[in-house]
Protein backbone atom coordinates (compact mmCIF):
# COMPACT_ATOMS: atom_id res chain seq x y z
CA UNK A 1 0.00 0.00 0.00
CA UNK A 2 2.82 2.30 0.73
CA UNK A 3 4.94 1.25 -2.21
CA UNK A 4 3.04 3.00 -5.00
CA UNK A 5 1.65 2.04 -8.39
CA UNK A 6 2.36 -1.62 -9.22
CA UNK A 7 1.01 -3.21 -6.04
CA UNK A 8 0.81 -6.98 -6.15
CA UNK A 9 0.42 -9.31 -3.16
CA UNK A 10 4.01 -10.39 -3.63
CA UNK A 11 5.39 -6.89 -3.66
CA UNK A 12 3.21 -5.98 -0.65
CA UNK A 13 4.50 -8.93 1.36
CA UNK A 14 8.08 -8.42 0.26
CA UNK A 15 7.92 -4.76 1.14
CA UNK A 16 6.72 -5.49 4.65
CA UNK A 17 9.13 -8.35 5.23
CA UNK A 18 12.32 -6.73 4.02
CA UNK A 19 14.73 -5.33 6.54
CA UNK A 20 16.57 -2.12 6.10
CA UNK A 21 20.18 -3.15 5.70
CA UNK A 22 23.47 -1.42 5.98
CA UNK A 23 26.76 -2.97 5.00
CA UNK A 24 29.55 -2.84 7.54
CA UNK A 25 32.11 -4.97 5.68
CA UNK A 26 32.81 -7.41 2.88
CA UNK A 27 30.42 -10.31 2.32
CA UNK A 28 26.81 -11.14 3.07
CA UNK A 29 27.47 -11.70 6.75
CA UNK A 30 28.73 -8.20 7.40
CA UNK A 31 25.39 -6.49 6.97
CA UNK A 32 23.36 -4.89 9.66
CA UNK A 33 19.58 -4.82 9.99
CA UNK A 34 19.32 -1.20 11.00
CA UNK A 35 15.58 -1.34 11.70
CA UNK A 36 15.90 -4.32 14.05
CA UNK A 37 18.76 -2.76 15.91
CA UNK A 38 17.29 0.74 16.15
CA UNK A 39 13.83 -0.45 17.19
CA UNK A 40 15.16 -2.87 19.81
CA UNK A 41 17.57 -0.30 21.21
CA UNK A 42 14.84 2.33 21.29
CA UNK A 43 12.43 -0.01 23.06
CA UNK A 44 15.11 -1.16 25.47
CA UNK A 45 16.16 2.38 26.33
CA UNK A 46 12.51 3.43 26.74
CA UNK A 47 11.46 0.53 28.94
CA UNK A 48 14.61 0.25 31.05
CA UNK A 49 14.77 4.03 31.29
CA UNK A 50 11.21 3.98 32.58
CA UNK A 51 12.06 1.24 35.09
CA UNK A 52 15.14 3.15 36.17
CA UNK A 53 13.26 6.41 36.61
CA UNK A 54 10.67 4.65 38.77
CA UNK A 55 13.24 2.74 40.77
CA UNK A 56 15.34 5.86 41.39
CA UNK A 57 12.44 7.43 43.25
CA UNK A 58 11.32 4.17 44.85
CA UNK A 59 10.10 4.48 48.40
CA UNK A 60 9.80 1.75 50.99
CA UNK A 61 6.71 3.53 52.30
CA UNK A 62 3.39 3.67 50.50
CA UNK A 63 4.23 3.32 46.78
CA UNK A 64 2.77 5.51 44.07
CA UNK A 65 0.80 4.07 41.17
CA UNK A 66 3.82 3.85 38.84
CA UNK A 67 5.97 2.22 41.49
CA UNK A 68 3.16 -0.20 42.37
CA UNK A 69 2.92 -1.17 38.70
CA UNK A 70 6.65 -1.79 38.42
CA UNK A 71 6.67 -3.67 41.71
CA UNK A 72 3.82 -5.85 40.49
CA UNK A 73 5.80 -6.83 37.39
CA UNK A 74 9.03 -7.31 39.31
CA UNK A 75 7.42 -9.40 42.03
CA UNK A 76 5.64 -11.52 39.45
CA UNK A 77 8.97 -12.33 37.83
CA UNK A 78 10.69 -12.75 41.18
CA UNK A 79 8.05 -15.31 42.18
CA UNK A 80 8.54 -17.23 38.94
CA UNK A 81 12.31 -17.26 39.39
CA UNK A 82 12.00 -18.24 43.05
CA UNK A 83 10.00 -21.35 42.18
CA UNK A 84 12.58 -22.49 39.61
CA UNK A 85 15.96 -21.25 40.69
CA UNK A 86 17.35 -22.22 44.10
CA UNK A 87 20.25 -19.97 44.79
CA UNK A 88 21.03 -16.30 45.14
CA UNK A 89 18.61 -15.21 42.45
CA UNK A 90 19.01 -11.50 43.19
CA UNK A 91 22.64 -11.55 42.09
CA UNK A 92 21.95 -12.27 38.44
CA UNK A 93 19.20 -14.64 37.37
CA UNK A 94 16.15 -12.68 38.50
CA UNK A 95 17.22 -9.30 37.07
CA UNK A 96 18.26 -11.05 33.86
CA UNK A 97 14.80 -12.63 33.69
CA UNK A 98 13.26 -9.19 34.17
CA UNK A 99 15.39 -7.85 31.33
CA UNK A 100 14.40 -10.68 29.01
CA UNK A 101 10.70 -10.44 29.84
CA UNK A 102 10.36 -6.68 29.54
CA UNK A 103 12.46 -6.38 26.43
CA UNK A 104 10.89 -9.29 24.56
CA UNK A 105 7.41 -8.16 25.59
CA UNK A 106 8.05 -4.65 24.28
CA UNK A 107 9.57 -5.94 21.04
CA UNK A 108 6.65 -8.32 20.51
CA UNK A 109 4.13 -5.59 21.29
CA UNK A 110 5.35 -3.64 18.25
CA UNK A 111 3.37 -6.24 16.32
CA UNK A 112 0.16 -4.54 17.46
CA UNK A 113 0.99 -1.31 15.64
CA UNK A 114 -1.06 -1.11 12.41
CA UNK A 115 1.46 -2.22 9.79
CA UNK A 116 0.37 -0.09 6.86
CA UNK A 117 -0.03 3.13 8.84
CA UNK A 118 3.41 2.54 10.33
CA UNK A 119 4.79 1.88 6.82
CA UNK A 120 3.31 5.20 5.72
CA UNK A 121 4.92 7.02 8.64
CA UNK A 122 8.28 5.35 7.98
CA UNK A 123 7.96 6.28 4.31
CA UNK A 124 7.42 9.92 5.31
CA UNK A 125 10.58 9.66 7.38
CA UNK A 126 12.39 8.44 4.27
CA UNK A 127 12.67 4.82 5.40
CA UNK A 128 11.41 2.62 2.60
CA UNK A 129 11.99 -0.77 4.16
CA UNK A 130 11.50 -0.62 7.89
CA UNK A 131 10.16 -3.43 10.07
CA UNK A 132 8.71 -2.40 13.41
CA UNK A 133 8.96 -5.75 15.15
CA UNK A 134 12.52 -6.76 16.08
CA UNK A 135 11.46 -10.26 17.16
CA UNK A 136 10.34 -11.08 13.60
CA UNK A 137 14.02 -10.90 12.72
CA UNK A 138 15.70 -14.23 13.37
CA UNK A 139 18.88 -12.36 14.22
CA UNK A 140 17.26 -10.71 17.22
CA UNK A 141 15.80 -13.88 18.72
CA UNK A 142 18.90 -15.87 17.93
CA UNK A 143 21.06 -13.23 19.58
CA UNK A 144 18.99 -13.51 22.76
CA UNK A 145 19.01 -17.31 22.71
CA UNK A 146 22.74 -17.49 22.02
CA UNK A 147 23.47 -15.02 24.82
CA UNK A 148 21.46 -17.19 27.18
CA UNK A 149 23.31 -20.25 25.84
CA UNK A 150 26.68 -18.63 26.52
CA UNK A 151 25.52 -17.61 30.01
CA UNK A 152 24.44 -21.22 30.54
CA UNK A 153 27.92 -22.49 29.67
CA UNK A 154 29.50 -19.74 31.76
CA UNK A 155 27.48 -20.68 34.85
CA UNK A 156 28.09 -24.39 34.23
CA UNK A 157 31.83 -23.78 34.38
CA UNK A 158 31.58 -21.24 37.20
CA UNK A 159 29.50 -23.48 39.46
CA UNK A 160 30.92 -26.93 38.67
CA UNK A 161 34.36 -26.00 37.42
CA UNK A 162 35.59 -26.86 33.94
CA UNK A 163 36.32 -30.46 34.95
CA UNK A 164 32.95 -30.83 36.58
CA UNK A 165 31.22 -29.59 33.48
CA UNK A 166 33.16 -31.97 31.19
CA UNK A 167 32.43 -34.77 33.65
CA UNK A 168 28.73 -33.96 33.42
CA UNK A 169 28.91 -33.87 29.62
CA UNK A 170 30.38 -37.38 29.35
CA UNK A 171 28.89 -39.12 32.41
CA UNK A 172 25.24 -38.07 32.33
CA UNK A 173 22.51 -39.00 31.78
CA UNK A 174 23.28 -42.71 31.25
CA UNK A 175 26.15 -43.45 33.61
CA UNK A 176 29.88 -43.37 34.34
CA UNK A 177 30.84 -46.49 32.37
CA UNK A 178 33.52 -45.50 29.79
CA UNK A 179 31.60 -47.43 27.17
CA UNK A 180 28.71 -45.01 27.63
CA UNK A 181 30.82 -41.87 27.30
CA UNK A 182 30.30 -41.35 23.55
CA UNK A 183 26.57 -41.91 23.93
CA UNK A 184 26.37 -39.43 26.79
CA UNK A 185 28.42 -36.88 24.93
CA UNK A 186 26.32 -37.23 21.80
CA UNK A 187 23.16 -36.92 23.84
CA UNK A 188 24.38 -33.78 25.58
CA UNK A 189 25.62 -32.24 22.35
CA UNK A 190 22.21 -32.71 20.79
CA UNK A 191 20.71 -31.05 23.85
CA UNK A 192 23.16 -28.17 23.72
CA UNK A 193 22.43 -27.60 20.02
CA UNK A 194 18.67 -27.93 20.33
CA UNK A 195 18.34 -25.57 23.30
CA UNK A 196 19.22 -22.28 21.58
CA UNK A 197 17.52 -23.38 18.36
CA UNK A 198 14.17 -24.17 19.98
CA UNK A 199 14.50 -21.19 22.29
CA UNK A 200 14.95 -18.67 19.49
CA UNK A 201 12.84 -20.29 16.77
CA UNK A 202 9.80 -20.60 19.03
CA UNK A 203 9.69 -16.85 19.64
CA UNK A 204 10.62 -15.96 16.08
CA UNK A 205 8.06 -18.37 14.57
CA UNK A 206 5.17 -17.21 16.70
CA UNK A 207 5.72 -13.52 16.16
CA UNK A 208 6.61 -13.90 12.49
CA UNK A 209 3.47 -15.95 11.88
CA UNK A 210 1.43 -13.32 13.69
CA UNK A 211 2.80 -10.64 11.44
CA UNK A 212 2.07 -12.72 8.32
CA UNK A 213 -1.55 -13.07 9.44
CA UNK A 214 -1.79 -9.31 9.88
CA UNK A 215 -0.38 -8.89 6.37
CA UNK A 216 -2.87 -11.38 4.89
CA UNK A 217 -5.76 -9.60 6.62
CA UNK A 218 -4.41 -6.28 5.34
CA UNK A 219 -4.27 -7.69 1.83
CA UNK A 220 -7.83 -8.91 2.07
CA UNK A 221 -8.94 -5.49 3.29
CA UNK A 222 -7.63 -4.02 0.03
CA UNK A 223 -9.88 -6.20 -2.19
CA UNK A 224 -13.16 -4.30 -1.82
CA UNK A 225 -15.92 -3.33 0.59
CA UNK A 226 -16.61 -6.86 1.89
CA UNK A 227 -12.89 -7.41 2.30
CA UNK A 228 -12.53 -4.17 4.21
CA UNK A 229 -15.42 -5.00 6.56
CA UNK A 230 -14.24 -8.54 7.26
CA UNK A 231 -10.63 -7.45 7.29
CA UNK A 232 -11.44 -4.91 9.99
CA UNK A 233 -13.30 -7.44 12.13
CA UNK A 234 -10.69 -10.15 11.65
CA UNK A 235 -7.87 -7.69 12.17
CA UNK A 236 -9.35 -6.54 15.46
CA UNK A 237 -9.97 -10.14 16.53
CA UNK A 238 -6.48 -11.25 15.64
CA UNK A 239 -4.96 -8.22 17.40
CA UNK A 240 -6.86 -9.03 20.58
CA UNK A 241 -5.79 -12.66 20.40
CA UNK A 242 -2.28 -11.55 19.58
CA UNK A 243 -2.04 -9.67 22.89
CA UNK A 244 -2.15 -13.11 24.51
CA UNK A 245 0.47 -14.54 22.17
CA UNK A 246 2.81 -11.59 22.69
CA UNK A 247 2.65 -11.89 26.46
CA UNK A 248 2.76 -15.66 26.44
CA UNK A 249 5.80 -15.82 24.15
CA UNK A 250 7.63 -13.24 26.25
CA UNK A 251 6.78 -15.25 29.36
CA UNK A 252 7.86 -18.55 27.79
CA UNK A 253 11.11 -17.02 26.60
CA UNK A 254 11.80 -15.70 30.09
CA UNK A 255 10.88 -18.98 31.80
CA UNK A 256 13.12 -20.98 29.47
CA UNK A 257 15.95 -18.56 30.19
CA UNK A 258 15.45 -19.09 33.91
CA UNK A 259 15.18 -22.86 33.51
CA UNK A 260 18.35 -23.10 31.41
CA UNK A 261 20.29 -20.95 33.86
CA UNK A 262 18.93 -22.97 36.81
CA UNK A 263 19.98 -26.23 35.15
CA UNK A 264 23.45 -24.77 34.71
CA UNK A 265 23.59 -24.15 38.47
CA UNK A 266 22.47 -27.64 39.48
CA UNK A 267 24.44 -30.85 39.28
CA UNK A 268 22.74 -33.90 37.91
Amino acid sequence: MASGAELTPTSYMTHHLTNMTSSVGEGAFWTLHVDTLVMSLLLGILSFGFLWSVVRGATSGVPGKRQAFVELAVEFIDDQVKSTFHGDRHAFVAPAALTVFVWVLMMNAMDLLPIDIMALIYELLGLHNWRSVPTTDINATFALALSVWLLMIFFNIKVKGFGGWIHELVCTPFGKNPLLWPVNLLFNLVEYVSKPLSHSLRLYGNIYAGEIIFLLIGMWAATGLAGTVFGTILGAGWAIFHILIITLQAFIFMMLTVVYLSMAHESH
Partner: protein, 156 residues
Protein backbone atom coordinates in the same frame (compact mmCIF):
# COMPACT_ATOMS: atom_id res chain seq x y z
CA UNK B 1 15.86 -14.31 7.30
CA UNK B 2 19.60 -14.65 6.94
CA UNK B 3 21.94 -14.63 9.89
CA UNK B 4 24.28 -11.67 9.81
CA UNK B 5 26.13 -9.15 11.92
CA UNK B 6 22.85 -7.95 13.47
CA UNK B 7 23.21 -11.00 15.72
CA UNK B 8 26.28 -9.59 17.45
CA UNK B 9 25.00 -6.06 17.78
CA UNK B 10 21.77 -7.40 19.22
CA UNK B 11 23.65 -9.64 21.65
CA UNK B 12 25.77 -6.68 22.73
CA UNK B 13 22.64 -4.61 23.33
CA UNK B 14 21.18 -7.50 25.33
CA UNK B 15 24.31 -7.71 27.44
CA UNK B 16 24.19 -3.99 28.15
CA UNK B 17 20.53 -4.12 29.13
CA UNK B 18 21.11 -7.11 31.41
CA UNK B 19 24.03 -5.32 33.02
CA UNK B 20 21.91 -2.21 33.49
CA UNK B 21 19.04 -4.12 35.09
CA UNK B 22 21.33 -6.15 37.36
CA UNK B 23 23.18 -3.05 38.45
CA UNK B 24 20.64 -0.22 38.56
CA UNK B 25 17.07 -1.49 38.39
CA UNK B 26 16.84 -4.65 40.47
CA UNK B 27 18.74 -3.89 43.70
CA UNK B 28 17.09 -0.56 44.68
CA UNK B 29 13.61 -1.84 43.97
CA UNK B 30 14.24 -5.06 45.90
CA UNK B 31 15.64 -3.01 48.76
CA UNK B 32 12.50 -0.85 48.82
CA UNK B 33 10.24 -3.90 48.69
CA UNK B 34 12.16 -5.71 51.42
CA UNK B 35 12.18 -2.62 53.63
CA UNK B 36 8.44 -2.33 53.24
CA UNK B 37 7.97 -6.02 54.00
CA UNK B 38 10.03 -5.57 57.15
CA UNK B 39 7.98 -2.51 58.17
CA UNK B 40 4.76 -4.42 57.65
CA UNK B 41 6.05 -7.43 59.56
CA UNK B 42 7.16 -5.18 62.43
CA UNK B 43 3.78 -3.48 62.44
CA UNK B 44 1.98 -6.80 62.58
CA UNK B 45 4.22 -8.00 65.40
CA UNK B 46 3.61 -4.76 67.31
CA UNK B 47 -0.12 -5.17 66.81
CA UNK B 48 0.07 -8.71 68.11
CA UNK B 49 2.06 -7.54 71.11
CA UNK B 50 -0.44 -4.75 71.78
CA UNK B 51 -3.30 -7.20 71.65
CA UNK B 52 -1.52 -9.48 74.11
CA UNK B 53 -0.83 -6.58 76.45
CA UNK B 54 -4.41 -5.43 76.23
CA UNK B 55 -5.52 -8.91 77.26
CA UNK B 56 -3.08 -8.91 80.19
CA UNK B 57 -4.10 -5.48 81.40
CA UNK B 58 -7.78 -6.29 81.11
CA UNK B 59 -7.10 -9.33 83.31
CA UNK B 60 -5.25 -7.10 85.74
CA UNK B 61 -7.99 -4.50 85.82
CA UNK B 62 -10.58 -7.21 86.47
CA UNK B 63 -8.45 -8.43 89.39
CA UNK B 64 -8.10 -4.91 90.78
CA UNK B 65 -11.82 -4.35 90.43
CA UNK B 66 -12.61 -7.57 92.25
CA UNK B 67 -10.26 -6.69 95.09
CA UNK B 68 -11.71 -3.19 95.34
CA UNK B 69 -15.20 -4.62 95.53
CA UNK B 70 -14.14 -6.99 98.28
CA UNK B 71 -12.56 -4.20 100.25
CA UNK B 72 -15.57 -1.99 99.76
CA UNK B 73 -17.88 -4.67 101.08
CA UNK B 74 -15.59 -5.20 104.10
CA UNK B 75 -15.58 -1.46 104.76
CA UNK B 76 -19.36 -1.30 104.43
CA UNK B 77 -19.79 -4.17 106.86
CA UNK B 78 -17.45 -2.49 109.35
CA UNK B 79 -19.31 0.79 108.97
CA UNK B 80 -22.63 -0.89 109.56
CA UNK B 81 -21.29 -2.58 112.66
CA UNK B 82 -19.88 0.69 113.93
CA UNK B 83 -23.13 2.47 113.23
CA UNK B 84 -25.18 0.00 115.20
CA UNK B 85 -22.61 0.18 117.98
CA UNK B 86 -22.89 3.98 118.05
CA UNK B 87 -26.66 3.71 118.10
CA UNK B 88 -26.50 1.31 121.02
CA UNK B 89 -24.13 3.59 122.89
CA UNK B 90 -26.36 6.57 122.19
CA UNK B 91 -29.34 4.65 123.43
CA UNK B 92 -27.51 3.78 126.67
CA UNK B 93 -26.38 7.37 127.20
CA UNK B 94 -29.86 8.69 126.51
CA UNK B 95 -31.36 6.28 129.03
CA UNK B 96 -28.86 7.30 131.72
CA UNK B 97 -29.44 10.98 130.97
CA UNK B 98 -33.20 10.43 131.16
CA UNK B 99 -32.87 8.68 134.47
CA UNK B 100 -30.71 11.43 135.82
CA UNK B 101 -33.15 14.10 134.70
CA UNK B 102 -35.99 12.08 136.21
CA UNK B 103 -34.19 11.75 139.53
CA UNK B 104 -33.43 15.50 139.58
CA UNK B 105 -37.02 16.32 138.78
CA UNK B 106 -38.27 14.01 141.47
CA UNK B 107 -35.96 15.62 144.02
CA UNK B 108 -37.08 19.03 142.96
CA UNK B 109 -40.70 18.02 143.18
CA UNK B 110 -40.14 16.65 146.66
CA UNK B 111 -38.40 19.84 147.64
CA UNK B 112 -41.26 21.91 146.25
CA UNK B 113 -43.73 19.73 148.05
CA UNK B 114 -41.73 20.12 151.25
CA UNK B 115 -41.54 23.87 150.80
CA UNK B 116 -45.23 24.12 150.07
CA UNK B 117 -45.95 22.02 153.15
CA UNK B 118 -43.72 24.29 155.19
CA UNK B 119 -45.45 27.43 153.91
CA UNK B 120 -48.83 25.80 154.49
CA UNK B 121 -47.82 24.81 158.00
CA UNK B 122 -46.65 28.36 158.69
CA UNK B 123 -49.90 29.78 157.39
CA UNK B 124 -51.94 27.23 159.36
CA UNK B 125 -49.94 28.10 162.51
CA UNK B 126 -50.39 31.79 161.89
CA UNK B 127 -54.09 31.20 161.33
CA UNK B 128 -54.33 29.11 164.49
CA UNK B 129 -52.44 31.71 166.50
CA UNK B 130 -54.58 34.46 165.04
CA UNK B 131 -57.72 32.47 165.92
CA UNK B 132 -56.48 31.80 169.41
CA UNK B 133 -55.49 35.42 169.72
CA UNK B 134 -58.97 36.54 168.82
CA UNK B 135 -60.43 34.14 171.38
CA UNK B 136 -58.05 35.01 174.15
CA UNK B 137 -57.64 38.70 173.23
CA UNK B 138 -57.34 39.90 176.71
CA UNK B 139 -55.59 37.10 178.50
CA UNK B 140 -52.99 36.49 175.97
CA UNK B 141 -50.23 38.92 175.68
CA UNK B 142 -48.25 38.42 172.58
CA UNK B 143 -45.15 39.57 174.23
CA UNK B 144 -45.42 37.25 177.23
CA UNK B 145 -46.52 34.24 175.35
CA UNK B 146 -44.10 34.63 172.49
CA UNK B 147 -42.19 31.56 173.49
CA UNK B 148 -45.32 29.49 173.67
CA UNK B 149 -46.55 30.75 170.31
CA UNK B 150 -43.24 30.01 168.58
CA UNK B 151 -43.18 26.46 169.91
CA UNK B 152 -46.79 25.91 168.73
CA UNK B 153 -45.86 27.29 165.28
CA UNK B 154 -42.96 24.89 165.16
CA UNK B 155 -45.10 21.90 166.11
CA UNK B 156 -47.72 22.62 163.47
Amino acid sequence: MNINFTLFSQAAAFAVFIWFTVKFVWPPLMRAIEDRQKTIADGLAAGERGKHELELSSHRSADVLKEAKQRASVIIAQAEKRASQIIEEAKGTAKDEGNRILVGAKAEVEQEVFRAKETLRQQVADLAVAGAAKILRREVDAKTHADLLTSIRAEL
